[in-house]
Symmetry: C2
Subunit: 254 residues, 2 copies
């Protein structure tokens, strides 16, 4: 097996989407795809996504399973002022910490909400697990928070995206995965599968995927190679390119 | 607490999306949203979604956790002819069954692939856990399969959608969740949160969610009520409608 001998740093993560509205099909989740692309660019490897309903026991179980396994867990949803916003309480329970009103969060809310309108429901948005760091929300002020390795963000995409920008500088980063995409055109996966497997076995540190799609003009396949090791990636990519050229030439000879 | 005394049948499900391409951000998963909407319409309650990479141990662990907990598990992805298509082997391992070539699946493949082109890679698409029922694929012929309560489908959306149509008649169905959506307009969530919570507590069999969004013209909130009990849903919806009218009138008096 080819190897460069390097062992690039790896920082792993999971996303936990909290929300009945995703599971009912009312809302198409766009946040996990956004977070996936964002983390790839800053050297954090997304390894798992879960979507759970607004049910405390389900959130607690998922948070505890994921935070034990990955370097970071990013949650979205459930931090507003209404009764179905139970994320802060659920994360507190997962960490066995009291859920407390944070005076810094109250100060943030007061930047947008007049003091006489800061009712009990709105004050709920200032409750966090004791000891949390806050995450700025430039759009509607109610902050996200980070406790241990769990980053808790809003579900509204524009706010989630701003919170991710705010928290990103605090995160540990690994080496970025580099990607090469080769177009196999209309060549069927079944024609190149055996040759591609040989290359995949020779380059275990390069993840190689074959992705079919079907359009009106027939199949169109792409081969995607991903690795943190640029030299290995370049050699594996050259191998796949040669393989495709050889199969195309063979097809032309038939 | 108001109740109609009925206890409508419940059939639960989870979706397991298998694929590095979703976690890397290359591909935006549309399948789980499609399945969510589809299942809601046929009386199956989607309770959880997980996305895992093309790693056998991760697939096995997720399948076993989900099939023990829910009535059905729907997987997407990883049933093509290339080396990264490891779903059939992984599901077999989860069920502790041999993964065998199914002669009925070979016959399906031969409808599209000439016999002299049915190489080892393409034959892989006919391998299923022993005892599986096949699921027709009208688009590219390679079938999905169902073993126990696990439904295994392709990742290409058009094929997955056709397989879901093919398998739907075999599924147990519960009562459908009925949905009412009320527009709270620009009224802030913090204004109605307390009154809404009282209604939610009075109607525990009605799931009530408040969903904010932000547009160029400011906030626009929706309140969504969901229940299998039409009579309770109607009463709770009337309660929320009255609450919004009262708060709007109060706002106008100020």
């Amino acid at each position: 097996m080819e190897s460069s001998g390097q062992n690039p740093a790896t920082v792993t993560a999971a996303v936990l989407v909290i929300g009945d509205e995703i599971l009912s099909g009312r809302t198409q989740d766009q946040n996990s795809g956004y977070i996936a692309r964002y983390l790839a660019q800053i050297g954090v490897d997304l390894r798992e996504v879960r979507v759970v309903p607004d049910v405390e026991a389900d959130i607690v179980a998922a948070v505890n399973a994921l935070r034990a396994r990955y370097a970071y867990v990013f949650t979205t949803g459930g931090i507003g002022p209404t009764h179905d916003d139970i994320t802060a309480d659920s994360i507190s329970k997962a960490f066995e910490l009291p859920c407390v009103e944070d005076p810094r969060a109250i100060a943030m809310l007061l930047e947008r909400i007049p003091a006489d309108k800061l009712n009990a429901a709105r004050r709920r948005m200032a409750r966090v697990p004791q000891g949390s760091e806050l995450i700025d929300n430039p759009i509607s002020k109610a902050p996200g928070f980070m406790i241990g390795n769990v980053v808790v963000m809003a579900g509204v995409p524009a706010i989630m995206e701003a919170m991710l920008d705010a928290v990103a500088p605090r995160l540990a980063r690994g080496a970025c995965v580099q990607v090469e995409t080769l177009d196999a055109g209309a060549m069927a996966e079944g024609r190149y599968a055996e040759a591609l497997e040989k290359i995949a076995l020779a380059y275990a540190a390069v993840s190689i995927g074959s992705y079919p799609s079907f359009s009106a003009t027939g199949p169109r396949n792409q081969i995607v190679l991903r690795s943190k090791d640029a030299a290995l990636l370049a050699r594996a990519t050259a191998g796949v390119r040669d393989m495709l050229a050889e199969l195309n030439a063979e097809g032309a000879r038939l």
